[in-house]
Symmetry: C2
Subunit: 188 residues, 2 copies
């Protein structure tokens, strides 16, 4: 989620990265800084449930790993996807084999959860920026419409709802999540 007000401040990516992290996180896009908004209940619920579900499928077999609110810096921007999913071999590691602290590559799959009053095009821009740089799949989750727009490189988006199976990364081929089941997590 991103605040609607653009900062007029223009700084370099290096200067931006030297600044202290904030909560909610800030993103650096084309010389401007955008502050994400504080996640509300539905956003947080989908974020944690979906990341957990992906990891439950992807972690035991070392297929993928999903990380919420992870700063990814690449292509001259520094963004914080709601969920960034990496195929196992693409997870940045440090010299000792541990997970890296700095992620300087694109996620294989970016998941954004739209918040009320959030600018749609700003989120679409974040997803298409990733697709242009190697990300294979983008989800735009709209809790109000109970639907997910599916973005892939080189094709128009598709909107999934109700009983539609949500397309995941191909390494997760055994995983079949219906759109309705995603939004059922909101009913507790």
């Amino acid at each position: 989620m991103i605040l609607s007000t653009k900062s007029t401040q223009k700084i370099s990516l290096e200067e931006f990265l030297q600044q202290a992290e904030t909560k909610p996180a800030r993103e650096y896009i084309d010389g401007k800084i955008y502050q994400k908004t504080m996640p509300q209940g539905q956003h947080s619920t989908i974020q944690i449930e979906l990341a957990s579900a992906i990891n439950q499928q992807g972690k035991p077999k070392k297929l993928v790993y999903a990380l919420p609110e992870l700063r990814c810096t690449f292509g001259g921007r520094s963004i914080v996807p709601d969920i960034a999913v990496f195929e196992w071999q693409n997870i940045p590691r440090d010299a000792s084999g541990k997970i890296a602290n700095k992620f300087e590559s694109h996620p294989d799959w970016i998941i954004e959860i739209l918040s009320p009053e959030q600018s749609a095009n700003r989120v679409i821009r974040k997803i298409t920026f990733c697709l242009d740089r190697g990300t294979k799949l983008g989800w735009l989750i709209d809790c109000e419409d109970e639907s997910v727009s599916i973005f892939k490189p080189d094709r128009a988006p598709e909107v999934k709802d109700n009983e539609d199976i949500l397309p995941a990364l191909s390494v997760l081929e055994d995983w079949q999540l219906k759109t309705a089941d995603l939004f059922a997590w909101l009913t507790i």
Copy 2:
């Protein structure tokens, strides 16, 4: 613009079309009725200025014709794009050569203007429904972000802003509108 509340009523397309028109218009999608919201100032301004600008370019040479709030019924749905643009030869006409009253074909170009609190995926669904059925171009205008997402069949969307030239239908090749110039219409 579409209300956020889904009607639970399920009726046939024929039954829907027999009902009286309302203001704001209602749309029929997959057996459900969605009411568009009343356009607010920025929405109305962009809608009339853009439709006029397209017609100023497209009408004298009989290239295209832009119609705001036109009901288009095709592919089992009945939608009312904010602006529907038809190439000249595709404008439905009656037996006497006058413009038809009922439009039962897809526009060549659909333009949607996002309103605050409008569901992004519901608008994306409307655009991609058109693209799947022959529409060549979709614009999703976001006044808050001052950007336009460009949808075409068989490719991921692109988000245009600032000095970016907005891609129009190829028959309007002489027309070059910058994104910033579109939003400059809001400053009166």
